[in-house]
Symmetry: C2
Subunit: 537 residues, 2 copies
């Protein structure tokens, strides 16, 4: 005997804490799935009522109550389709990261996540108690197992569900983007489905939430471990998948997938994270201090791609050290992007600070920081006047070694490139220019300079970025020690200098704006280092 189920993977962009807004999205999606797609089941992402991650909102009783009220409202309002909805669930045994299976006003089952990630950016052990029970529900007489996100990374939950008869697995997820994350997810899904000969339906969020970006990547993997459906990256989608279940196997008709390049994925992650941070926080406009250098050029390009040219304003703030080509290139970029701009010299301000203080050496670090902070004060004043949000332009390499001025170029509501190393900044600029050439080639070609002193070059102070970024990858991402890095052929002095700078600038990072995370170990919630520390290796 054979039965066919139509399952919708709901790849949605929800907002943390906006229970009423999320509910409306879930209800609309479920009705669309029922009426337009004639689907049997709709599978929402993890904690879909609250958005992910709700963080310490989960410690508030009023929040948990509102989430449960939202769940019951959903249950009453959606009939005629079976829905898998994620929500926090408080019982006498503790708070669970749960999902409920709802059909025609009734709960068919409820599952509580068994494996709670408590590493990297995840703090689920802070809030939740681990579930212990397998959940297999019968939908149209087909036994279906449910697991949540991290559960897939371990063998037992799927194994137990299959042991209890599950013919397919539904998995709601909240899995943020990282470079290569798709590959990792697919590897896990392949392994799990193949081992237990069961298809897995994997739904994930799309959209930005503070430092996190969810890339979608919802997919279906068949019982042989082959990916056969994919909902795409960085786009909302209701993806219908038909599965034919016979007594001996479950069959899914495959569709092909073309993976975007790494640069495209990263660029889209930044665009998505930027757009959602601005929109979800109620801003429309942004301000970017444009220097004529590559970081602010890429930032403004990303902002225009994310928000449209009418929502980005460039502020060009030259000083006595600003070269002519910087001004030309900044103006050329503004012209190409067709965005409004303002040119405000920092000289009067710089002179006023100097006259208020007695600063001797003209090229001292103090003088350089003053310039960066003069720009900061102007940008923030404009932001206060217009209500536009300032985008910070510092990149990951600079922030790692503290080559940035706190309260100066580090100001802003969002640091778009905070997790983008300088070498990747170039790759992304080149990628963007391939679509259509917007960043003047000279910006890409010239040697990086902060222009806070005459003829200054970044490489006067720092190792070449190719070497710096290599050290950062080994030291920060791979957690290697100094000796290990030196053994890979990088000069010890350079490694020690960089490592010392990383430790020394911890205090700056802890006052930095949030940034969009694209690495496994970024400088946000996934880096929890003491400022006061005697460990310098």
């Amino acid at each position: 005997m054979s039965r066919t189920l139509r399952i919708i993977l709901a790849q949605l962009n929800l907002v943390v804490g906006d229970i009423q807004g999320n509910l409306m999205q879930l209800i609309n999606a479920a009705k669309l799935a029922r009426d337009t797609f004639s689907a049997d089941i709709i599978l929402f992402p993890e904690l879909s009522i609250t958005g992910y991650p709700p963080e310490d909102l989960l410690l508030r009783k009023t929040f948990l109550n509102a989430a449960i009220e939202g769940l019951y409202e959903f249950k009453e309002k959606v009939h005629g389709i079976c829905c898998v909805v994620g929500h926090p669930y408080l019982t006498e045994q503790g708070l669970f990261n749960a999902c409920s299976v709802i059909h025609n006003g009734a709960f068919l089952g409820r599952y509580a996540k068994q494996h709670l990630p408590n590493y990297g950016v995840f703090d689920e052990g802070r809030y939740f108690t681990a579930g212990k029970e397998t959940c297999v529900v019968s939908i149209q007489n087909i036994p279906i197992g449910i697991v949540i996100c991290e559960d897939l990374w371990f063998d037992i939950p799927v194994q137990q569900a299959v042991k209890q008869g599950a013919r397919l697995i539904l998995a709601p997820n909240a899995s943020p983007y990282e470079i290569n994350k798709h590959t990792t997810r697919l590897r896990i899904l392949t392994q799990r489905s193949r081992t237990h000969a069961v298809p897995i339906f994997y739904t994930n969020y799309v959209g930005g939430q503070d430092e996190l970006v969810f890339d979608g990547d919802s997919m279906v993997v068949d019982a042989t471990g082959e990916m056969c459906h994919h909902a795409g990256f960085f786009t909302k989608k209701l993806m219908p998948v038909d599965i034919e279940i016979t007594d001996i196997h479950a069959k899914i008709i495959p569709t092909p997938l073309a993976l975007p390049s790494e640069e495209e994925q990263i660029y889209q992650a930044l665009v998505t994270g930027l757009r959602d941070y601005i929109k979800k926080n109620g801003f429309s406009g942004t301000l970017v201090g444009l220097s004529g250098g590559i970081d602010s050029a890429l930032t403004v390009a990303l902002a225009v791609d994310a928000l449209g040219k009418n929502n980005v304003k460039a502020i060009i703030m030259p000083s006595r050290y600003t070269s002519e080509i910087s001004m030309e290139d900044a103006c050329a970029l503004v012209h190409t992007l067709d965005i409004t701009h303002e040119i405000i010299s920092i000289e009067p301000l710089f002179l006023a600070v100097q006259s208020s203080l007695t600063i001797k050496e003209e090229t001292s670090l103090t003088q350089q920081n003053i310039q960066a902070r003069c720009r900061g004060i102007l940008l923030m004043a404009l932001s206060n006047q217009t209500g536009d949000l300032v985008l910070s332009t510092s990149n990951r390499s600079e922030i790692a070694v503290g080559y940035a001025t706190l309260y100066g170029d580090m100001i802003g509501g969002l640091a778009v490139l905070k997790d983008v190393p300088k070498t990747l900044v170039y790759r992304l600029a080149n990628y963007r220019n391939q679509l259509n050439p917007i960043i003047p080639q000279r910006i890409i070609d010239r040697a990086p300079t902060a222009e806070l002193a005459f003829n200054q070059k970044d490489e006067d102070t720092l190792p070449p970025y190719s070497i710096l970024d290599k050290i950062l990858e080994l030291y920060l991402d791979q957690e290697q020690g100094i000796d290990e890095i030196v053994n890979q052929g990088i000069e010890r002095n350079t490694v020690e200098q960089v490592v010392a700078l990383i430790h020394k600038s911890e205090y700056k990072r802890q006052q930095a704006p949030p940034g969009i995370r694209i690495h496994h170990k970024a400088f946000g919630k996934d880096r929890r280092y003491p400022i006061t520390s005697g460990f310098k290796q």
Copy 2:
């Protein structure tokens, strides 16, 4: 038969990550305990080799290796006394929060913490695997049980140790100060010791570590639950305690204790946190922007008490809105404290910013923020020149509702009053003046004002601080909802206004300097809120 043991509680001030420095302190303390006190046992705090909390240093192999090398070095170097030393311990089963019992170059036993706190400021679930084994070691033929910190908050670990014959319990701790923490600790210790009729020796850290302050409060509780020895608060101490163990009971001769007042404890916590942040980070001097108001007055008083008058410099930065009495009071304070000061008008700078921009309304928020940021730029320039650290003076009430300028008065390396509500600022000022009157009474008596506009008063914008602080306590510390707070007799409009301001200013707090934590829920690691959030209740 009766035997007497002399046990030293080592209430030490260690430095996170400074393994060699900590080792030297541990070795010196052990030798002193052996040679001067003729002690049998010395009990160090939790993770004493690494300091607490090491945070993500625990994710680095080189750090874990260095800690274990430190442990072995200690084992070789200290003979003739039994030592209980805390350290991280990596095995094939995972990383454990362990302590080793060391005697004459041998390990007598090793215990791994069973209950790992993963709430509030604690992230132990991120790093450690929970131990499962009870540890009872025989020292001079007396069976002694070991538990670590959080283990005491549960019944099983002590129960199991006693069941396996333990006649007394040694407990290394890393328990940070909070208001009323001593009472909580004593309650737990009393309950635990009385239930199992066993004396407990409790050692804790003293000293500051970023936002945390350890208050010491090491103590011994006898088998009836009575506290009979106390090592004092906020001071290093090697406290010898003799215990006479007969076949039927363990007897400790009690010493009396006078608890300091709450104001004194808090004041000492702030002094300790401030002093250690400055010293452990290699600074000597500090800069404080002095306004003539109560917050900067208390901050500078704390700084002088912590660091001495030669290490505190006041910068007075008047504007057109600064009243005469503010100048007089600031100068009076500087005079009383006998600290150096500088007066720098912000007018030239303020005018320069205004001339660079077109700002219409003179009293707009933009104008006010510009003034605060002019002060910020001057303070930071002085900090860059001198190497002195800027102390931020914003209090908890302001930071809660965002009544502070990001990159303006919020700048600094440490926000001393970040966790001190305005009403407590007054209590502490009065407490300090009782010791000797240093803060001019007029500063305490006048209505709070930011002086960023003519005749401005904080209460023009905010509810009276007595009401504001009450709402903050109920909403932040007790996690109550709006309705609950209103039911306690506070006007709904006011509650809703304050709650809205709290949510709206999350982005500011996430770029704020670290502060010294004195509440159970402060604005540091114990507050993990999304910036992007639709939950406004």
